[in-house]
Amino acid sequence: MKEFVGITIPSHPKYLSIVRKTTGAVGELYGIPEQDLEDIKLAVDEACSNVIKHAYGGDATKKIAVKYTVTKRLFKVIIEDNGMKTHIGAMQGRSLNDVRPGGLGIHFIRRIFDGFRFDEQKRRGNRLILSRTLHAKK
């Protein structure tokens, strides 16, 4: 059986720090390099922030489930909600050259996770699957 770590948080921004700490602890456990781990923490935080803002429209009374699976080759994070459907086409972010507030979060997610997709099988809400290929130590 594949091992995993999972947490469920209320959809209130004050709990995002718990997501960052958990992501950090899981990454440390598996020896993820510090700089990569900082980027992973930011990306998972941004993905959960997006759930609060977009899927739940700022409703802080819902739930977000975050599940981590780490193998030799992959660091995988699954983020689930029961909010409004998010379409991957709507998550493009702004151009980095267009300096204005907002639209950066998606860039932070995509720069560290080479896998980024929504599970289309989930009927209610969203299941975002993020994965990062890990390179074995030589």
């Binding site: 921004p13 004050k14 995002l16 720090s17 900082e38 935080d45 922030s49 300096v99 979060g105 932070f108």
Partner: protein, 109 residues
Amino acid sequence: MNIELSEYKQKKIITLSGDIDMYSSPLLRDKLMALVKKKVPFLYVDFNKVSYIDSSGIATFVEGLKGMKSFGGRIVFFGVPPKIMEIFNFSKLDKVFEIYGSIEDAFNS
């Protein structure tokens, strides 16, 4: 996140510590925009004790910068830790914000 406001030689300094995220950035926005509203000519932001910043924190500073520029004011950052600087670099905001190593460099700019 903790926010301290101080003044040195008639220059306003915001000293931040801790994490700037979706939870704490609305408070930062309130403080920042209050200073913009007062048309403070020089605003210095001490990043030395900032441990984390996300896109909502960056958006807050972009909004603050635009507000300051609207009346010819300046917002100047100093003491930005490397991991925060890396986020500014990636976002191409290192070219947009005035960023200095120390408070002296910021004051002398």
